[in-house]
Symmetry: C2
Subunit: 200 residues, 2 copies
């Protein structure tokens, strides 16, 4: 008697439409880690999910709708993974958030570059998601104003927003050409925040 190595077919689970949609979005986000938004087609998703193209259009009206949903999910993931741990002291909290951010970009390099560098292609809904994510990331930085003894002024808020862009740019640049170790990168990013805020 030979032992078959072929795995038993996965038990077909009947999912509710909502659960199925969530599953498809998760798959979309995973696929986005290694390809740009442009290359994320309904056809490829259907193939990867093993369901028909027609059924997919039951969950997403069209390619644009699918892209928006995937990008929103990716933005939610980024925000969740980099959420500051408020039980920690501010310095440790900042260091940890930065580390999770760098790890996220490393793990989702292509999609992250695509999102930051012009994936919207003029779609106002995508631009809106990017903008909301940017504002959410920045609003965390403003939590550090008090920590660093900086008054909450329009100048300080502008610099906080600018610092978030500095981090985004420096990390993208580092990922493309890492001439520093990760700890070195994290150190200069963390120490640049109080420096920037003090310029207000």
């Amino acid at each position: 008697m030979t032992v078959t190595t072929k795995p038993a077919p996965a038990k077909r689970v009947r999912l509710s439409p909502d659960a199925r949609r969530e599953q498809l979005l998760d798959l979309g986000v995973r696929m986005l880690a290694t390809r740009t938004l442009e290359d994320l087609s309904i056809d490829v998703l259907a193939e990867q999910a093993g369901i028909s193209r027609g059924l997919l259009f039951h969950y997403f009206k069209n390619k644009q709708d699918f892209h928006r949903a995937v990008v929103q999910r990716a933005a939610d993931d980024l925000l969740a993974r980099t959420r500051p741990d408020l039980t920690r002291a501010p310095a440790a909290r900042l260091a940890l958030s930065l580390e999770h951010y760098v790890d996220y970009v490393l793990a989702n390099r292509l999609s992250y570059i695509s999102l930051v560098r012009g994936a919207a292609g003029g779609d106002p809904a995508l631009l809106e998601i990017f903008e909301r994510t940017r504002v959410a990331m920045t609003s965390r930085v403003t939590d550090y104003l008090e920590v660093f003894g900086v008054a909450d002024t329009p100048a300080a808020r502008l610099l906080a927003r600018g610092w978030a862009a500095l981090v985004e740019e420096a990390v993208l640049s580092w990922v493309a050409d890492p001439r520093l170790t990760k700890p070195e990168l994290l150190r200069i990013l963390a120490s640049s925040l109080p420096a920037v805020l003090a310029a207000g």
Copy 2:
């Protein structure tokens, strides 16, 4: 005898194909100041230039080719207008470059936002132009490393690039919602550069 107010028709000047192309690009960039790249069609350009659509395709192969040429011209303009005046002392040079940059963004708000926020839509040629422009802007910042007594290290270069992104983000944010005066904005941007570089 009545005096006609109708202006004499402009003398038709025969332009060389190169000169005509330059003229069309200038018009494209001016049009881009008040509309996004998406809305800059060959049809609108033909109408504004008063020449036929067919003739336009003599100068630009297609819409994509036209967009690339206009974006390249806009990037060249930005770099030219913000070129540091090397006859000035470093502090004055930085202040003046920043002021010209802010003025450029103010004058070309829509196009600038469109270029920075996702106009590329995955066109690698457009992304390449953005990237080259970003590198050119950053390379000017690295000129200040010596001025501010900072060694030219990978960390300093990463921070210089990050600072250019900080300026871009802060100025776009300020243009959308100006809660500081322009001199206040220029002051915090200028003072943030040595602060950021010192974090290396």
